[in-house]
């Protein structure tokens, strides 16, 4: 299945991009997506268990993904 991973702030700078398209096997989880992105050049900036959102809602590593999901890797936020 096709999913899109969006990365932000320090993660985006390290990876040199804001978006990573991934093809993952059916049944893949958030954690699988995180591991895939972590293996890319610059991906070592991403911690083992980063904050993650699926389709604009915070999600845990075990959540199963679906075709077309938007996964986001979220560095420590600093708004306000």
């Amino acid at each position: 299945m096709d999913i899109t991973v969006r990365v932000f702030a320090a993660y985006a700078d390290a990876l040199g991009r804001a978006e990573v398209p991934l093809v993952l096997p059916d049944g893949a989880t958030v954690d699988d997506a995180v591991r895939s992105v972590s293996t890319l050049p610059g991906g070592q900036v991403i911690p083992r268990s980063p904050l993650v959102a699926v389709n604009h809602t915070y999600a845990s590593a075990a959540v199963r993904l679906n075709e077309g999901d938007e996964v986001a890797l979220i560095p420590p936020v600093s708004g306000g």
Binding site: F8, A9, H56, T57, Y58, S78, G79, G80
Partner: protein
Amino acid sequence: MRAALVTDPLDVSRLVREVASPERGATACFIGTVRETNDGRAVTGIDYRAYQEMAEAELNRILVEAVNQYDGIDVALEHRTGQLAVGDASIVVVVAHAHRAPALDALRSIVEQIKSRATIWKLELYEDGTREWVSAGAQHLVSSDRDA
């Protein structure tokens, strides 16, 4: 009840009017502005970047939770994004209630939730020309600085 990311300058009076009502006698506001120093470093501005769609969704979830917890409040909040100068307001939160205690309690709770949950990042710009992503506990050099 309204939360939005905006790029124009913020106006506390407008948000106060937005939640004003003859039933609500207490209005509490929080305004965050860009400071000229942070951790002892001279700051010239902050570039606020957001995961826009999620930030607006999360801000609205925070307000829904607050309205459920503090019965009878109304809230308006705007968070500004883009490059802000020292003294510019980055966020305004206004809470109104019949009485002051729920208004003040809800204001504090909402501000804390925004700080910990809204998908917004500060890229702090320093007088020495460098810049850094600010995070609550740690700071990360941006790649352009690291590579420079």
